[in-house]
């Protein structure tokens, strides 16, 4: 009971929220790093995965990258980068680690999504005279959207988690509240920081789930033509067929 009360007190103390070490500033750092690194990883991984999936090569790469991402400890990579010559360059070690660990879920899910597009549909589109570019843009990407989006969501949660860990080697973000709490042996602060991080991760996951539903091109079309088709499970893409989960951090 004592811890819960003290955590509540910590969280409701205004001074803990302001200043450079305050929650708002740390939250800002956390979100900034998350958004920037997620954008970089998407820009790097998604085009590669979509192209590989389109031509149907590199399946082994997609699997191996995701297995390697799971086997290599994030914490070890963060510390190795810190001790490397890059370590003296501000938040570069953190950014590199974040991007590295966001790539596997993006790559694997997008690749699988592209490959799982019904081959008959692809053949039909080709038969209609679609070029490769049209095929990707109008057929494969819309049908692969649910898995691509799952990859982005997994990567986003991963980045939030990795950013938290980056506090151990001195990076910014909400993890700093936890590490500072441990240093001060202030359990209330540790728990408060952990709660904030957990809520942030769940919020990111939740917001992206909602976005996915709203943006899914197949669902959108289904909604537009809702009326009669409402009863059948017709064109709704199998979003949950492959429960792709990245690695926890």
């Amino acid at each position: 009971m004592g811890v819960i009360d003290r955590t509540w007190t910590w969280l409701t103390t205004g001074s803990h929220w302001s200043g450079t070490d305050g929650v708002w500033h740390r939250l800002g750092e956390h979100l900034f790093l998350t958004v920037v690194c997620l954008a970089i990883s998407c820009a790097l991984a998604l085009p590669v995965a979509v192209l590989l999936g389109h031509v149907g090569r590199g399946g082994a790469l997609a699997v191996n990258v995701s297995n390697a991402g799971r086997a290599v400890p994030t914490f070890a990579v963060l510390v190795l980068l810190l001790l490397s010559p890059l370590g003296t360059h501000g938040s570069w070690p953190t950014v590199i680690a974040l991007v590295l660990f966001a790539i596997p879920p993006l790559l694997t899910n997008a690749y699988v999504g592209m490959r799982e597009v019904d081959r008959d549909v692809v053949e039909a589109a080709r038969g209609m005279g679609m070029t490769g570019r049209q095929l990707i843009g109008r057929v494969e990407l819309p049908l692969a959207f649910p898995l691509i989006a799952t990859g982005v969501r997994t990567a986003a949660v991963q980045v939030v988690a990795t950013t938290t860990l980056a506090a151990l080697p001195g990076g910014g973000g909400l993890g700093r509240i936890i590490t500072a709490g441990f240093r001060l042996t202030d359990t209330a602060q540790v728990v408060s920081g952990a709660l904030l991080v957990a809520v942030l991760a769940l919020l990111v996951e939740g917001v992206l789930v909602v976005l996915e539903r709203l943006l899914d091109p197949v669902r959108r079309r289904a909604r537009r033509t809702a009326g009669r088709a409402a009863g059948g499970d017709g064109p709704v893409a199998p979003a949950d067929a492959v429960p792709a989960v990245g690695s926890a951090v």
Binding site: P73, L82, Y111, A161, L168, L202, V242, P243, A248
Partner: protein
């Protein structure tokens, strides 16, 4: 010649470090293995009844899967921190956290494995007079083994890697050495511990793969028959995206 020097000059690779701190590495590796084994074993023991529960009552499936997914979303540093008030600074914090993470993968894969059992096999067993328990352990579980083992491998590899984060409370196995090395900028220690940790994950994966082969001799026979039919467009992610 380079013996003592590489410790002084703080090089990444240092034979002298291995020689003088060998016992530290062994102790850390043993702690790492212990934490991983305990977490995965408890994870399986908890996941199995949960999966059976979710299969038996449809109403339970949603909450069970939802809860394990939510737990999976919580970052490891936060998870361990939240468990500190419950267990104090003890190894239980790390093991409990790792068990909670492993549940997501294990429950899903056990469910997927059980769902993949052909209805005909169940019917045949029932026709032969198998009761529910014998049906489960004698027919369904062996047939679900490939999916179950795939999940176990993913959970084990992730657990090996996540154990390092336990260093924040002093129970991180090889992570402790990485954590120490981070503060003292001891490159050889950080690199050696990191490499050992990855090696541990790979060895664990291979051991489980070997166990899986031993347990499912029929799968190999089937694979040989199917080898010719395996085209390029198959599903490449048997173990990647679980």
């Amino acid at each position: 010649m380079a013996g003592q020097n590489c410790l002084v000059t703080n090089e990444w690779i240092c034979g002298e470090y291995l020689r003088t701190r060998g016992h530290e590495l062994t102790d850390a590796t043993l702690q790492h293995i212990g934490i991983t084994l305990a977490s995965v074993a408890i994870g399986v023991l908890v996941a199995f009844p949960l999966a059976l529960l979710a299969r038996r009552w449809r109403a339970a499936a949603g909450p069970v899967l939802g809860l394990t997914t939510v737990l999976y979303t919580v970052p490891s540093l936060a998870m361990f921190s939240l468990l500190v008030p419950v267990f104090g600074l003890s190894v239980s914090v790390v093991v409990t956290g790792l068990v909670l993470y492993s549940l997501t993968v294990l429950v899903r894969n056990i469910l997927a494995g059980l769902a993949s059992v052909p209805e005909e096999a169940r019917e045949a067993a029932r026709g032969m007079g198998y009761g529910p328990l014998r049906l489960l352990f004698g027919v369904e579980l062996p047939l679900a083994l490939p999916a179950l083992m795939a999940g176990l491998r993913i959970a084990t590899v992730s657990t090996v890697s996540l154990t390092t984060v336990g260093a924040i409370i002093g129970y991180g196995g090889l992570g402790n050495l990485i954590y120490e090395g981070m503060h003292s900028y001891f490159k050889a220690q950080v690199l050696t511990a990191s490499v050992l940790c990855v090696a541990l994950a790979i060895v664990a994966d291979l051991v489980l793969l070997f166990v899986q082969r031993l347990l499912t001799p029929w799968a190999r026979a089937g694979k040989q028959a199917k080898r010719r039919g395996r085209g390029a467009g198959g599903r490449p992610v048997t173990e990647g995206a679980l």
